[in-house]
């Protein structure tokens, strides 16, 4: 197997390992900001690997590729922001 992030066999193996590590974190780690950042990075990495290599958007139409990639920058960023500033987000979204 070619150990490259262009090889979908290798990517599949890496995604499996990250998922198992996520499960270990779920069972053992606390809800610290550092853990949240690590999990957010793993969401972004896994998403972009599927978008670029499984979905084969790495050389596809630029608009579609950019929009799908952007999703996996924005969502992980929101995960970190919500963990870092929960009170601010709560105040901004309070109805009264």
């Amino acid at each position: 197997m070619q150990l490259s992030l262009r090889n979908i066999d290798f990517i599949w193996l890496v995604l499996m390992i990250i998922t198992v590590l996520n499960a270990v974190v779920a069972e053992t780690a606390d809800g610290s900001l550092l853990i949240t950042i690590i999990i957010a990075i793993s969401i972004g990495f896994k998403g972009r690997m599927v978008v670029q290599r499984f979905m084969e958007l790495h050389n596809a139409n630029r608009f579609i590729k950019n929009m799908m990639n952007a999703y996996f920058y924005v969502i992980p960023l929101l995960v970190v922001i919500v963990q870092a500033f929960p009170d601010t987000i709560a105040n901004l979204t309070r109805l009264n």
Binding site: K46, F54, N59
Partner: protein, 207 residues
């Protein structure tokens, strides 16, 4: 060398990888499926925003919620969906190399893992009920069932689309030049996997 000769019966693509690459700048599948995919991704994004807002207003419920869920079921579901997405990617590469027989095999693996996902999820819902966790237990479980049941339905009808792709492959409807229909189904299936890539850590991992 003919590209089809580069594939071993086991489906090893190391040598044939370059031949299996899709055309640069293309729209995968067709434009209609991308309208659907962006709509679905927006729908899931709304669910994630609801999760974020609910979490900051009810931090205790969302800190305790993941510990009440069955992490093994969530992890197995993630592994099966990622594998299913990988099998579909393999099937696309096979059809580009004019190997519909191998493409059908990978698609069958994909449907199989899709069904395993549905079975595990059904078992997980049953397990939750036995522990006394229902939709109205607290806000965490309301959001959990809202997201996961919605995703469960997507995997259900997505599996049906994969079966349609296998049926069309068996009819020799796709080859290396014409496989728009199969690529459309593949793109939709990957979108379902992408949604779960976000759902799993939100509900099962982050405390």
């Amino acid at each position: 060398m003919n590209s089809t000769l580069a594939i071993s019966p086991q489906g090893d693509f190391d040598q044939a990888q370059v031949n299996a690459e899709p055309k640069p700048g293309r729209i995968p599948g067709n434009m209609a499926i991308w309208v659907a995919i962006f709509s679905e991704m927006s729908e899931f994004a709304m669910m994630f925003i609801i999760y974020f807002i609910a979490k900051v207003h009810h931090p205790e419920a969302f800190a305790a919620g993941p510990e009440k869920l069955n992490t093994l079921a969530g992890t197995l579901n993630t592994l099966t969906l990622l594998s299913s997405s990988y099998f579909v990617a393999k099937a696309m590469r096979c059809i580009r190399l004019d190997r519909p027989d191998l493409s059908i095999r990978w698609m069958l693996f994909a449907v199989g893992t899709g069904c395993i996902y549905l079975i595990i999820k059904y078992w997980e819902f049953t397990w939750n009920a036995e522990q006394g966790y229902e939709v109205d237990t607290d806000l965490f479980f309301t959001v959990y069932y809202y997201m996961t049941f919605n995703h469960f339905l997507h995997v259900g009808w997505g599996s049906g689309a994969l079966l349609w792709g296998i049926y069309r492959l068996k009819q020799s409807a796709y080859d290396s030049r014409e496989h728009e229909g199969l690529e459309t189904i593949a793109s939709y299936w990957h979108m379902i996997d992408l949604a779960w890539i976000v759902i799993f850590p939100l509900l099962y991992v982050l405390h």
